[in-house]
Amino acid sequence: MKPSLLAVVALGYGVVASAQIHDGTPGLIEGRPEIRAASPLQQLIDASPPGGRVEVAPGTYTGDLMIDKPLRLIGRGRPRLVGSGTGSVIRVRAADVVIDGFDIDGRRGGDLTRDTSGVHIAADRVTVRDCRISEALFGIYIRDAMGVVVERCSIRGIPGRDPGEKGSGIHAYNTSGTRFTDNEIDDVRDGLYLQNSSNGEIRGNLVRRVRYGLHYMFSDDNVFEDNTFEYGDAGTAVMYSERIVFRRNRFVHNRGFASVGLLLQQCDDVLAEDNLIADNARGIFIEGTNRTTLRRNIVAESDVAIVQFASAQGTRIEGNSFLGNMSPLSLVGKRVDTVFDGNYWSENPEPDLDGDGRTDRPYRLSSVFDHFRGNLTAADLFVDGFAAASLGVAEQAFPILQLTEAQDRAPLARPPDLSAVPRPRIEARQSAASPMALSAAAFAVGASVLARGRRARAHKRGGGA
């Protein structure tokens, strides 16, 4: 089946639109599992005194579990907790619980409206550490809680389901002061989802093959650093949130038709520094925001580096490095008060004759070719061709079209040293034997044919003499 282009476009915008009316209301809080659905560990927990430590021996334990008193549940030799398939596998209902060292299998059970998850937390200061969660709708669901910590966990969703049928990897609703560090999340709807959640920290996570890697809704004063978001519809989506600060993250390989590295929508005072935003269909998407600041990021190898709506106000884009993007900027609506200052643009041909490190003239962020492609998608078929280049040259010589006036007022002449920006994860950079042998063979064949021609010539001469 081949989807019509229009349908694909509609789908792409649907992703953005549906997030606006995202139904994040949690379901009822599940209590104690029924006797026949309960794990054999339930007795151990019930027998333990509050504040105690329960060690679990290696083995497989089938059934669900509720923890309703502060305690430390420690797995020795990675015990497997296999859920009943009807509800959340572990339900934490008391503060100061620690869960450490388990493999948790949700058995694809439950449903999204009941927030069925590997670990369901509705209590303060709970820690989940070194757990591997698979086949659960939500990996870890946290609601109405403060100070929850999730670290070094691996969460894998249910394979082969549509995004709409999946839950988030880690889902936080009405929380504050959560800390999610060094987790690996794969194949879920949103990797990390936070709604009405403030003052959280998210560090060192790897999220891949998801809808959104990280998704904030109505969540203010959050920080995320040193994470990698790849192969999603959007690396990170910040929506209806204020004062989000993020540094040194990678937003890479978000290559779907309407995919975005970084999506900022209806949010205020976002600050992004030292991030790598590379190999995305669109690098950064900005709509309806106030006072966004993007500093010292690398935006590379996107079809369009920045897509900005006229509804975005007070955006400052400074000291970034834009490398090898098909087009630097696509504006929706004409009015722009965005400040572009001191960025490096790899396509900027201007010289720096006075040697002040800035090119001598401002860099205009649209070429006559961008004007074509803005009106006509298929024009991109010519984007790498000589026609586009010659049109650019001709337009500079004879400026006839009134183009958008967005420009970098003092672009850098050389790429800045952005040593804080994380490098791409290099996948398998080694030599390949057979292509190299083929190349050598091609070289030898070519050389020998030419050499034979030469010898024949010498021979001829010899014969003639």
Binding site: H253, F372, A378, L381, D384, F386, S390, G446, V449
Partner: protein, 281 residues
Amino acid sequence: MSAPGTLAMVRLFARQELVLAVRSRWTPIFAVVFAALSLAVGFSGYIVTGGFGMQDFARTAVSLVQLVLLLVPLTALLIGVMALAPERGAAELLFAQPVPRATVLVGKLVGLFEALAAAQLIGFGAAGLTVFSQAGETGAGGFLLMVAGSLALTAIFLGIAALISVGNVGRRARALAIALVVWFVAVVLFDVAILGVATLLRSGHASRLLVTAVIVNPVDAVRTGTLLGIEGSAAFGAASLAFFRITGGSTAAAAYLLVSVGAWLVVPTVLAVRRLERADL
């Protein structure tokens, strides 16, 4: 002694033309320039960018494709016209021999193709060694596709050179001028004109026009096919999808491109042969 068969005759002329091409020094110069530029592109793709790069291989290959699109048609046309448009006296002498004219022309074309292909293989071999010492095996298919595209362009523009030469026997300067114009039109002007016309049309018609143009022009066909082969739909972003949609899927798109390239391989040469057979020298 019985007369050798047609194939043997073609081989004989091919061999002679190859020797002449190597002797003319244009082919060795082309080989050196092409190899140097390929190597430069190969190195800069991996080393000058300072180790940064998500799509090192694809970017390098794309730059190599640009090099091919610029240089290969130009050299094929110029070297082809220089070899195939002899002075009037030489033509009379050559075609007075008891050999069919078609055999002479095809033989010469084969020889020229061998010479130019050999020159390119040196460059591709050198670039391939640099690229694949770093890139892993993933890009090998795309690289092969690029080499194939380059060889196809060589043959296509040799055929066009033959057509130009046959129409301008004894007028070598004129033939060279026409060759340059043909090159400029095929590589630059055609695309600019199409983009210009496309802006005047409604978007649906414009898209179809652009896609058709990309298939019909052999330079664009090779460029589009190779880049799609190397980068997949990331090659042109959304335009890739528009291309597949209008052509009816990736298989159909590949078929259209192959048919176009095939037609360009055959038609100019056949026309040149027929014209030569009818020509009054």
